[in-house]
Symmetry: C2
Subunit: 149 residues, 2 copies
């Protein structure tokens, strides 16, 4: 699906859930959809400060919360490091470089069995799960080997 389609769908979702479409929201969504870097709130703030010199950081946070509540955006939390935000398209997991922080998406079929298993074992009602794989990206591995010389 194209980015324009995603944006259109997202705006439709907002409309049907009764969330006003402001220029700031439009821009934040657009940036999120086009961005491949899983940006932080601050990334977004900085990226849009040319277009919206007066926009407040609070606006970015507010709207990311709204988008999350409506289900358009997922928040990836990392301790006291800044959260990263991911426009929800299809289900995927994240491969994270421990060296440079890069996040790469990958698809992996059917981990629903884990949810079922966990539910059975713990007695919880299961809603969702989160899987992340940590390692070193090819670029950083190259860098490391250079350092070793």
């Amino acid at each position: 699906m194209s980015d324009e389609m995603h944006l259109k769908d997202a705006l439709d979702t907002l409309k049907t859930t009764g969330v006003r479409i402001t220029p700031q929201r439009h821009a934040i969504l657009e940036y999120l959809i086009n961005s491949m870097i899983h940006p932080t709130a601050d990334d977004i703030y900085k990226a849009l400060e040319d277009k919206f010199p007066n926009m407040s950081v609070a606006t970015v946070y507010n709207n990311l919360r709204v988008f999350r509540e409506v289900g358009l955006v997922k928040e990836l939390t990392y301790g006291d490091a800044a959260s990263r935000f991911d426009f929800v398209t299809n289900d995927h997991y994240h491969m994270i470089c421990e060296c440079c922080g890069k996040i790469v998406d990958f698809h992996y079929p059917g981990l629903n069995e884990v949810e079922q298993f966990a539910s059975h074992v713990t007695g919880f009602q299961v809603n969702s799960h989160r899987l992340e794989v940590y390692g070193t990206c090819p670029e950083c591995m190259a860098g490391e080997s250079k350092k070793a010389l």
Copy 2:
């Protein structure tokens, strides 16, 4: 394996890695091993303030970092909420209640295939992975149903 054994092993690990065993470190480790609640740094700080009225919060954080670096402890990070610390015994995953925050351990065999798969697909060198399942615990479900009446 018994808790006393875990503590002994942990102290041995510290000794062999050249980390000094201070009373504070001993107490923090002991508390971590006995605790079932995956405590925050503040939980630990509060739990030990009777025994160590002068201990600083920084000490707790410092030592949790040391333990993490030596591999005795895992840090579970959750956005701007406080990190929780988990004494490393055998591998397990966490089932987290979105209602009350309770964390329950469960075992699930072989997710190494995911690591292999991710490595193959992304080209990363894989070190580890993190899986968490989110839902509602039985107690909260009971509470919710009561509320609904």
